[in-house]
């Protein structure tokens, strides 16, 4: 419960940024309206989730320690709260993607058979990126230089989004999608395994971050 309370504190700290979330949703819808595959808004929402999930690190200042560190809790509560905050954005991205998928179906459009496993891989990949970013930020320290923080927050998200766009263009050109459609069953299982593996890595990383943070001074 205390971890959830810390997650709520993170939401309050970055609420001005969270207010922009619906705007990104609209952009994702507009992209989809351009005739791209449904995976494009999915990957865009994952890009947004990656960026937003690390926002509280940018809102940390040393002086806050007198309040946040003194709240009756353990280091595990604080770190888990931050990880839950990150996970909640992945959850929001997944819900948005689910809504897209429903709209897609309602409009009578065909969903490519490979879209579900590809979405699962995308989800696992997004979680992995966020996990690595969190690890870096906790290893360096929550009060890292703003320039470095900006790079760590934005570069992997942008890189993964543009890589996804490139792969999709490339895959269509090469006719790989047809091949993927034929091997759909195996891909779906692999996608599920990837998400489960990402979740395990997420938990292991959180434990590492707790260990690192427990030894650290906050000033």
């Amino acid at each position: 419960m205390r971890a959830i309370h810390f997650m709520m504190i993170d939401y309050i700290k970055v609420k001005q940024q969270v207010y922009f979330m619906p705007l990104f949703l609209v952009i994702a819808l507009l992209m989809w309206g351009q005739g791209y595959s449904i995976l494009v808004p999915f990957s865009y929402m994952m890009f947004v989730a990656i960026i937003f999930s690390t926002a509280p690190f940018g809102a940390c200042k040393k002086g806050d320690a007198g309040f946040l560190v003194l709240l009756p809790s353990t280091v595990m509560h604080r770190v888990m709260g931050r990880f839950l905050y990150g996970l909640s954005f992945v959850g929001i991205a997944v819900i948005c993607c689910g809504i897209f998928a429903v709209i897609h179906q309602t409009m009578g459009k065909d969903t490519e058979a490979w879209a579900v496993p590809a979405s699962l891989f995308l989800l696992a990949f997004g979680m992995l990126i966020i996990t690595v970013e969190f690890l870096i930020m906790y290893l360096i320290g929550e009060n890292m230089a703003p320039q470095l923080l900006g790079i760590v927050r934005v570069a992997p998200a942008m890189g993964s989004f543009f890589a996804m766009m490139y792969l999709m263009d490339d895959a269509e050109a090469l006719g790989d999608i047809a091949m993927m459609q034929n091997r759909n069953d195996g891909l779906l299982q692999m996608g599920c395994i990837a998400v489960a593996a990402a979740l395990v890595i997420w938990i292991v990383s959180a434990v590492i971050c707790v260990k690192v943070t427990a030894k650290r001074d906050y000033v």
Partner: protein, 283 residues
């Protein structure tokens, strides 16, 4: 009954060492923790609040260490620092909500009473509060729950005399029930003169003095006179002699009063004077 026990506390930094800090603070008392800038006051208080970790030693509040029960340990502390510690974009309602979530003993009614008493606006963003309002908000947040130890790190710095006086009265009220204590670091030693029961004085990370305030004051004399009247033995006994236009001024342990000549003037020193002469002596 001791509320705060600090044993062999040490902290090692590259350029600074805090070493072997030992003291106890009984329930119902106020301790002034004093020393010049960079002497290790904030480091000690940060270790008490677990904001930073000690290299060696042990801290117990009400008999428990932070490692044994972090939640109970932190629930018993109310901390007010020199720096305003609520996140910038928080509003009063956010602080109230967080305190409600984390402290079972938090009283929203009491918190609201403090807000009204000190005219703290609910709707104004707290980053726009004046220094005095920010300090009072921090006080409201710690006094509206069941803390047992107040840790104040230069909390009264930069406050006007009216607000400072009000805070000193609050601290006296706080310890009145004999169950709660205050450890208070400040450069405004006249504040300690008014409210402290114990004085702990550190310099360059080492303990210089630690005693009950009244005994400390009784232990020394503030000596003034002409240098020519200072004998060799007296010279050795003087602490932190400062030359001025009228001769010199120094501290002398009370038990050495017999060394004073008939032309020497002496009086009871205040805490400020004891600290100044000790710092002078160590430089």
């Amino acid at each position: 009954m001791e509320l705060l026990e600090v044993k062999n506390l040490s902290k090692h930094y590259k350029a600074f060492d805090l070493k072997d800090i030992n003291f106890t603070l009984p329930k119902g008392y106020i301790m002034g923790y004093v020393g010049p800038n960079g002497s290790g006051k904030t480091t000690t208080l940060n270790m008490i609040t677990d904001i930073c970790k000690c290299t060696q030693g042990e801290i117990r509040i009400g008999g428990i260490t932070c490692a044994e029960d972090a939640i109970a340990y932190k629930e018993s502390i109310g901390y007010i620092g020199d720096e305003f510690y609520f996140p910038d974009n928080f509003r009063v309602k956010n602080i109230r909500r967080v305190l409600q979530n984390f402290y079972p003993a938090f009283s929203a009614d009491k918190f609201n009473q403090f807000l009204r008493r000190w005219n703290l606006p609910e709707k104004k963003p707290i980053k726009d509060f004046s220094r005095g309002m920010k300090v009072m908000l921090m006080f409201a947040s710690v006094l509206s729950r069941d803390t047992r130890l107040l840790v104040l790190d230069e909390a009264t710095n930069g406050l006007d005399p009216v607000v400072r006086t009000e805070i000193l009265e609050l601290l006296q009220e706080y310890v009145m029930d004999g169950e709660r204590s205050v450890i208070f670091s400040t450069h405004i030693l006249s504040d300690l003169e008014q409210i402290a029961d114990y004085i702990y004085f550190i310099h360059q990370g080492r303990t210089v003095l630690y005693d009950a305030k009244d005994e400390l004051i009784e232990s020394y004399l503030l000596v003034k006179g002409d240098r020519s009247e200072v004998s060799g033995e007296l010279e050795k006994a003087l602490i932190g002699a400062i030359d001025n236009a009228y001769g010199f001024e120094a501290l002398l342990p009370s038990d050495k009063a017999g060394l004073l000549g008939s032309q020497m003037h002496y009086e009871k020193p205040n805490i400020d004077q004891i600290v100044v002469h000790y710092i002078k002596d160590r430089r």
